[in-house]
């Protein structure tokens, strides 16, 4: 295949020329949360390796996740996970050929934002109550 990256051809308009719409922003956020979760798996692997390594190293890693900075990361991680999951459910609805009406698409986009924030806060409330 020809390398097209250096061709001086006209490009179609990209993100910066459009007024942000909720469906568009949620689509971008879906990709960003996906990429963040991708790199976030390092933390999951790190925690599992720590648990497999023994009490001393586990205490160290647990201390990191328990710190304010660690909790901030985990809170963001929880939200990214919930947002990406609800975004995925939105895609399932579209895959079945439904939810393409403008009003429905807009409502689903807002719902994925509101739902992700609600679920994240709910998970953390349960987490603090279970301590």
């Amino acid at each position: 295949m020809a390398d097209t990256s250096h061709d001086n051809r006209p490009l179609s308009p990209h993100l910066q020329v459009f007024r942000p719409l909720i469906t568009m922003v949620m689509s971008i956020v879906h990709r960003i949360t996906g990429a963040a979760l991708y790199f976030g798996t390092v933390l999951v692997a790190w925690w599992l390796i720590a648990a497999a390594s023994g009490p001393e190293y586990f205490a160290y890693v647990d201390g990191f996740f328990g710190s304010l900075f660690g909790r901030l990361i985990l809170f963001g991680y929880t939200w990214a996970l919930m947002h990406h999951m609800l975004g995925g459910l939105r895609h399932f609805i579209w895959d079945m050929g439904a939810g393409f009406e403008l009003s429905t698409a807009n409502r689903m986009a807002w719902a994925s934002l509101a739902g992700s924030v609600t679920l994240t806060i709910l998970i953390w409330i349960i987490g603090y109550m279970a301590r």
Binding site: A35, A45, L48, I49, A52, P55, A130, R131
Partner: protein, 125 residues
């Protein structure tokens, strides 16, 4: 009946995998919904617990299998997801190939490290 050349394509298209990518993406996404919810429940239930208690939870067969399934489904899903991102934004053929290779290596490394840790815990290491 009119048939376009595209309609008579042989060998599953230029990527030679037909709709395989799409189907795998959706299948793992579908599996991820209950698996990630279970994963979150497990993590919430062990947070703040001692090492011995965390290990005891993770080595119970059901928890261990759910965790292994989460890891497997998630690394497959994230590998195809990142592949799409790379194909969208990296246009140089050489760099794209390198990025795709690192993507596969990263997903495999995370999967193997996590699975090994889980099995070591489960089998009492």
């Amino acid at each position: 009946m009119m048939r376009t050349p595209l309609g008579e394509v042989r060998g599953l298209g230029s990527a030679k995998e037909g709709t395989g990518h799409f189907v795998r993406q959706r299948l793992t996404a579908f599996a991820n919904v209950p698996l990630i919810l279970a994963f979150v429940c497990i993590l919430v239930s062990v947070q703040g617990e001692s090492h011995a208690s965390v290990v005891a939870t993770l080595s119970s067969p059901i928890v261990a299998v759910i965790m292994l399934a989460v890891i497997l489904s998630a690394v497959i899903h994230m590998r195809i997801g990142m592949q799409v991102i790379i194909e969208d934004y990296v246009h140089g053929e050489g760099l794209k190939l390198i990025c795709l290779a690192f993507n596969s290596l990263f997903a495999a490394s995370i999967g193997l490290l996590s699975a090994f840790a889980l099995l070591k815990i489960a089998f009492g290491g």
